[in-house]
Amino acid sequence: MYTQGLASGVDTNERQLEDAALLQRFQERIDAEERIEPNDWMPEAYRRTLVRQISQHAHSEIIGMQPEGNWITRAPSLRRKAALLAKVQDECGHGLYLYAAAETLGVAREEMVDQLLAGKAKYSSIFNYPTLTWADIGAIGWLVDGAAIMNQIPLCRCSYGPYARAMIRVCKEESFHQRQGYEIMLTLCRGTAEQKEMAQDALNRWWWPCLMMFGPPDSASQHTDTSTRWKIKRFTNDELRRKFVDATVPQAHFLGLTVPDPELRFDEATGHWVHGAIDWDEFKQVVAGNGPCNTQRLERRRRTEQDGAWVRAAARAFAEKEKSHRNAAAAA
């Protein structure tokens, strides 16, 4: 389950045609921590922001199945194989919960999927990196799911009811994902020299992309304000990133691994870890479609849709036949 502080914001120049009184009442409800439900009045921009964010979130789950799915058939033990299959299955489930939440806003899942397949929708940049060794499965569980949890826990209190409810379910189910990943890392780090090297290599490759998962720095993100005011977002990108770093650096040390950041230091005054500069150019390139696996990920998804078309057609045709049989029986 992955959300990302992509620039999923609101068109700030949008003309608000809505009645000012309605807007004010809406904001009062939000301020009073009331939940907004599907058929309630809501500003068009609120609806659009949510559709965009929830569908991106759903796409991330579905695309996120690929890098991890890449290792299901090669998992090194039956226990790991079962856990990984169950985890990737959860991700699909979470994608489905999220698409369902977005559909309550009046947009069909097919439409969202089409946006994704057309390359017009975003998903978490992290899934455009390849999983090269088994240790990557550990690193993803530990770091990517760790980052996702930071993002997702506050979303359980998101102002939009169906999204918040989906997130509660997701967070409950995901509690095993990060532990699963860390356990893989721990086993590798306590294993042979080759295994430990594999773990370090995975950390080296995943660390920086994970920091990017939280999205651009607050100074560069113009969308946070509206999302915060509407209580869709409750922490800024930088706040979440800092939490993540504070939580994971000691975990890396426990593993005996080195975080690949020579500038990383603990600031006694603030009690936080301070990391070096993030390569935002790389982030922009990956978001723009130029990451190592963007093409491959979308291509896979498109092929899956195409390959399944005849099956869906068969199921629809059968349902139609059944319906006409039932109608005929009722008429007789």
Binding site: N39, E103, E111, A315
Partner: protein
């Protein structure tokens, strides 16, 4: 529509209700897409009960649900607020009488 490839009709949406254990009512848990009721029921089982969440499942075509309009919330639900005589605390009974 953004892609010309999608010429196929949408697969219907179903609402899923699950009874967590006997003694509890079925509770709405979410929705899913399925071509027919049988597959919807199986999909609900595979999607919403992976961790022993349920003992019974209902699936209902989303289109079959008639919902009240939130804009009519006042008319629908506020008149009841003043009927406090429907609640036990409206009636004063001396403590000596005991629990009633």
């Amino acid at each position: 529509m953004t892609e010309p490839t999608r010429t196929e009709a949408a697969i219907p949406l179903w609402e899923v209700f699950i009874r967590a254990r006997n003694g509890l009512a079925h509770k709405h848990v979410g929705s899913l897409h399925a071509p027919d009721a049988t597959l919807a029921l199986q999909a609900a089982r595979d999607l919403y009960t992976r961790r022993g969440e349920g003992l019974s499942i209902w699936v209902v075509p989303s289109a079959a649900i008639t919902a009240s309009d939130p804009a009519e919330k006042g008319m629908m639900f506020e008149p009841t607020a003043s009927k406090i005589y429907r609640h036990p605390t409206f009636y004063e009974i001396p403590d000596e009488v005991g629990h009633m």
